[in-house]
């Protein structure tokens, strides 16, 4: 895995992590909080510090529901979900780093599952 830099994540996400005042409202509002090893506020703080490795290797990036609750409620307009997405895309863009593989997909499907879920999952989990 080639090195992912802080600058890369910041550029891709378009987020200014320095705006964060560490109130934790993002994590207070996150519906996937309990499933995440690193929480939204930690994503922001760790990217600020340049401490990317733990995030890149954590399953937390696949637990974000992209529900925008943290984006909506952040009092500083930081948009933590975009940081998570930035890390996730950095991982997925590495070759061979797809989180789900095409051959596994049929097992995940049931007959009622709407297309949008499949398409979204492809986008969120796979290059």
């Amino acid at each position: 895995m080639s090195k992912v830099t802080k600058e890369q994540v910041l550029r891709s996400s378009g987020v200014n992590v320095l705006k964060c005042m560490r109130c934790g409202k993002c994590s207070a509002t996150c519906p996937s909080y309990d499933e995440m090893e690193y929480h939204p506020h930690q994503f922001v703080y760790m990217v600020e510090k340049g401490d990317l490795e733990p995030l890149l290797n954590s399953d937390s990036i696949y637990k974000c529901l992209s529900c925008y609750a943290c984006v909506e409620r952040c009092p500083r307009g930081v948009e933590p979900a975009k940081v998570v997405e930035g890390i996730r895309n950095a991982v997925l863009r590495q070759s061979g780093m797809n989180h789900i593989k095409a051959e596994n997909i049929p097992d995940m499907l049931d007959e009622d599952l709407p297309q949008q879920a499949i398409v979204s999952a492809f986008r969120k989990y796979k290059r």
Binding site: R11, P31, S32, Y62, A69, L113, Q116, A117, V119, R123
Partner: protein, 261 residues
């Protein structure tokens, strides 16, 4: 009243009811929905990464095609609406993105977010008017206690979607009143159902959808209505702690207007 109409893939397959009833109701209300002839899949989800260009182009193409038609573009599926609205916003307000996208697409005239994208519900509220709908209701759903489920995609990010107050929306509640029923307000109506995570982490999806469905039931709702096929799926399939039924709002609208067959 004529609008361009973007159905999206799901409405052509798993969510045919959402589409079918939507069209019937529109007809009954005197609204012409002209399906965009060359619409493409919106991409399912809007990538929040600024440097993701390619995955957003199909949405841009549909938007540009709607611009050529000259009418406002009506969407129905929450996910498609979210993607189209956010993509359109980026084309309008993010010069870097729109320059790149236009560069890829090589349209005759560059597209810069000129199309006005509105959701079917906004069309009902702002163009038709809920009071007009109430007048046309022949079969009011009197006595039904209905919980509106907004999910996340219709309302957020609020600055882009601009449909309603993202924390205390009223549009679906007003809709419910227009068709003669009683809205049930409950706190989780704008919290996530789990979304696409159902593909990857069923347990999480179940937890989230149960929270929504139980909250609606606890507050005395007979049923939940939604505009999103994936929400409907999650609340039906994954919310296993309650058996509260979930419908598309268009189905109830068609029923109230007496055009449901």
């Amino acid at each position: 009243m004529t609008f361009s109409y973007y159905p999206g893939c799901t409405l052509k397959t798993k969510a045919k009811d959402l589409d079918r009833y939507g069209r019937k109701a529109a007809e009954a209300l005197g609204v012409t929905l002209e399906e965009l002839p060359d619409w493409q899949c919106c991409g399912g989800t809007f990538s929040m990464s600024k440097d993701e260009i390619a995955s957003k182009l199909s949405a841009v193409r549909s938007l540009a095609s709607a611009k050529d038609k000259g009418n406002d573009l009506v969407t129905l599926c929450s996910a498609c609406h979210n993607v189209l609205k956010q993509t359109n916003d980026a084309m309008k307000n993010d010069p870097d993105f729109s320059a790149k996208a236009n560069n890829y697409m090589k349209l005759d005239v560059p597209y810069n977010g000129e199309t006005n994208v509105i959701h079917y519900l906004e069309m009902l509220r702002d163009r038709v008017g809920f009071d007009k709908i109430a007048e046309k209701v022949t079969n009011p759903l009197t006595g039904k206690k209905i919980a509106a489920y907004y999910g996340c995609l219709l309302l957020r990010p609020g600055k882009v979607m601009q449909m309603d107050n993202p924390e205390n929306p009223t549009i679906i509640e007003d809709f419910i009143r227009a068709i003669g029923a009683e809205p049930v307000v409950y706190p989780y109506r704008n919290e996530c159902c789990g979304g696409y995570v159902t593909m990857e982490d069923k347990a999480l999806a179940k937890k989230k959808s149960n929270k929504v469905a139980s909250s609606a039931a606890e507050n005395g709702a007979d049923m939940i209505i939604t505009a999103c096929p994936l929400c409907l799926y999650n609340l039906n399939k994954n919310a296993d702690e309650s058996d509260i039924p979930v419908y598309y709002f268009t189905e109830l609208l068609a029923e109230a207007l007496g055009v449901k067959d």
